[in-house]
């Protein structure tokens, strides 16, 4: 820095601090999804901001998972599925002709309800994705990537001495963190989580929740959860979905303390659902 220059004075903020408006990374516009004749998602438009945790809550069968899976085209395998409207990732339509769903999934990772490590070693589980698309090549680069992914997933300390053991030997919570590490190794921008704690005990759940909190510094996280306390604890924004329609979508605190809609209030206060 040039010493001769007079230091620039920081402008004094006079207004109340307002969180900077974050860039939108995922967006749906008038999204409709149906399985055959049955509509699953109706006219949902929402903007998901970058590097925040957005939770999607709602009663069973309301279309939470369907909505989540449209973000990385994991619904493509259902032949009867029909989608209209737009799903934008960094302003590109994910369903435009010519978009490769395989490429989409390399940018937008996913963690599932039940931990699903491959029946391979811990190391190979994490290295699987990078090996596939050849980002890390092999050898030392790959070793480093595996280590950093396991560190980010908060699992490195527990497994560093047994990377060659099978991932299936880990506990349920460790397996889920291994799956998170595996997804992170792809260096995605967005991590989708489909009820990632519903198969875990409370201690493992709280570890994953702490992890989500750490991860949002670098990743955008969209989490579907059945557990309203979890949504309240981990997310910045909450979307309440009912029967395929987006009832309310705003800051988590607002949703749980001053919901705009009566249906939201009834749901979050436990009067139904």
């Amino acid at each position: 820095m040039n010493n001769l220059e007079t230091p620039v004075k920081q402008p004094v903020e006079l207004e109340a601090p307002v969180a900077p408006r974050r860039r939108t990374i995922l967006e749906t516009r008038n999204l409709n999804v149906s399985y055959g004749e049955k509509a699953a998602i109706c006219r949902v438009s929402m903007e998901i901001p970058e590097k925040q945790v957005t939770s999607i809550i709602g009663p069973s069968g309301c279309g939470k998972s369907t909505l989540l899976r449209t973000f990385n085209r994991m619904n493509d395998f259902i032949p009867s599925l029909k989608i209209t409207g737009d799903v934008l990732y960094q302003d590109q339509d994910l369903y435009a002709p010519g978009v490769d769903p395989v490429g989409v999934r390399r940018h937008i990772g996913m963690v599932f309800q039940k931990p699903n490590p491959f029946p391979k070693s811990i190391y190979q589980n994490v290295a699987w994705g990078p090996k596939l698309n050849g980002v890390a090549g092999s050898g030392q680069n790959l070793d480093e990537l595996v280590e950093s992914s396991l560190r980010r997933a908060g699992l490195w300390g527990e497994v560093k001495d047994r990377l060659k053991e099978t991932g299936l030997a880990l506990s349920g919570g460790q397996q889920q963190r291994l799956c998170i590490a595996r997804a992170l190794a792809m260096q995605p921008a967005v991590l989708l989580m489909d009820e990632p704690c519903s198969a875990l005990d409370p201690i493992s759940t709280s570890r994953i929740e702490d992890l989500i909190d750490e991860l949002k510094a670098s990743y955008t996280i969209v989490i579907v959860t059945h557990n309203m306390q979890q949504a309240a604890r981990v997310s910045d924004l909450t979307a309440f979905l009912e029967a395929g329609t987006l009832v309310e979508f705003q800051e988590t605190e607002e949703v749980f303390t001053r919901p705009r809609e009566r249906r939201t209030e009834e749901y979050v206060t436990g009067r139904f659902g």
Binding site: N72, M74, F77, V102, G103, R105, R106, G109, M110, F112, K114, N116, P117, F118, P119, K120, W128, G129, L132, N133, L168, C179, R182, A183, M186
Partner: protein, 309 residues
């Protein structure tokens, strides 16, 4: 205890004589059914052991296992089983070369790529293929495959190992396909979604997730199929001939262990002679080989079952 209470006990809870008898009759009847197969197996093993032990009293085991000339009927007699073993090996290797890759390939197609309509169309076809009598396969080899081979390789003999190998390969193909298909379908769907979510194509999911995960089941299917090829008799006898021949040339006539047993059994070899006993020695060897392969296949299968629990 009052008398009324004991009466109640009598009519409600006392054992019924007739039923007990019936139950035990059914139980012993079922036991008999189970025993029949056990006893038959034991008897076969006993006969094989007894007859081949008399054989091995005259022919040393080493001569039998390592001798290179098999001539049980012609003087000077010679009981080296290697030509027969070699014939069997030729057929099994050839059959494996055809059935294993094709079987795995069609299993992968059926379980991962075929639409459900295609599947319902193809599965019964495979079952039909499995239901064709082996003698028909043998005839098919002789009248169709051999002439075809002769067109391509003019030196092909009328009876030849290759023709037998090809037809046995086709014969065990449905079995390989259906067992590999089972193994692939046993891989939980969560493995597929895990692969897709990491940006894998369908091909990559198949080759890098499903096939390795189902590997033990696939290997077990392979071993079982080879074991069936070892024991296959009729088609090989018809297609590959009955001349013991220590060769690795698949276009020459050979004799497998099974077709030797057929040719001696249907002839008028008197019981008690050495050539009659050689039948049991070869049978025992065949039994040991297929048993070992089936045990191996079972072991592999068991390891496979544990991997997801």
């Amino acid at each position: 205890m009052t008398s009324s209470a004991s009466n109640k006990l009598k009519c409600g809870l006392q054992r019924q004589r007739g039923r007990e008898w019936r139950e035990s009759a059914i139980r012993s009847g079922l036991l008999m059914c189970a025993l029949v197969s056990v006893l038959t197996t034991a008897a076969i093993i006993g006969v094989l052991a007894f007859e081949s032990s008399t054989f091995f009293r005259e022919v040393p085991v080493t001569e039998f296992l390592f001798g290179t000339r098999w001539a049980p009927l012609l003087e000077p007699r010679s009981f080296g089983v290697l030509p027969l073993l070699c014939g069997t090996l030729l057929v099994v290797a050839g059959a494996g070369l055809i059935a294993l890759p094709m079987g795995l390939g069609s299993a992968i197609y059926l379980s991962e790529f075929a639409s459900s309509r295609m599947r319902t169309l193809l599965k019964p076809v495979l079952e039909v293929l499995a239901g064709i009598p082996t003698v028909v396969y043998g005839y098919f080899a002789l009248t169709f495959i051999t002439p075809l081979l002769q067109d391509v390789f003019p030196s092909t003999e009328v009876y030849n190992a290759a023709s037998g190998a090809i037809v046995v390969g086709i014969m065990v193909l449905p079995m390989v396909t259906s067992l590999c298909d089972d193994a692939l379908r046993a891989v939980p769907d969560s493995m597929r979604t895990a692969g897709y979510a990491l940006g894998a194509t369908q091909f990559e999911v198949t080759t890098r997730v499903l096939t390795p995960a189902a590997l033990s089941g696939i290997l077990a299917a392979f071993v079982l199929a080879l074991s069936r090829a070892v024991g296959e008799t009729m088609a090989v006898t018809l297609a590959s001939g009955s001349t013991p021949n220590l060769t690795l040339n698949p276009l020459e006539q050979i004799q497998t262990m099974t077709s030797f047993i057929v040719s001696i059994s249907k002839g008028d070899t008197p019981a008690g002679t050495i050539e009659y006993q050689s039948l049991f020695a070869v049978g025992a060897l065949l039994f040991v080989i297929t048993l070992a392969m089936n045990v191996a296949s079972n072991r592999i299968m068991r390891r496979f079952k544990e991997s997801y629990e």
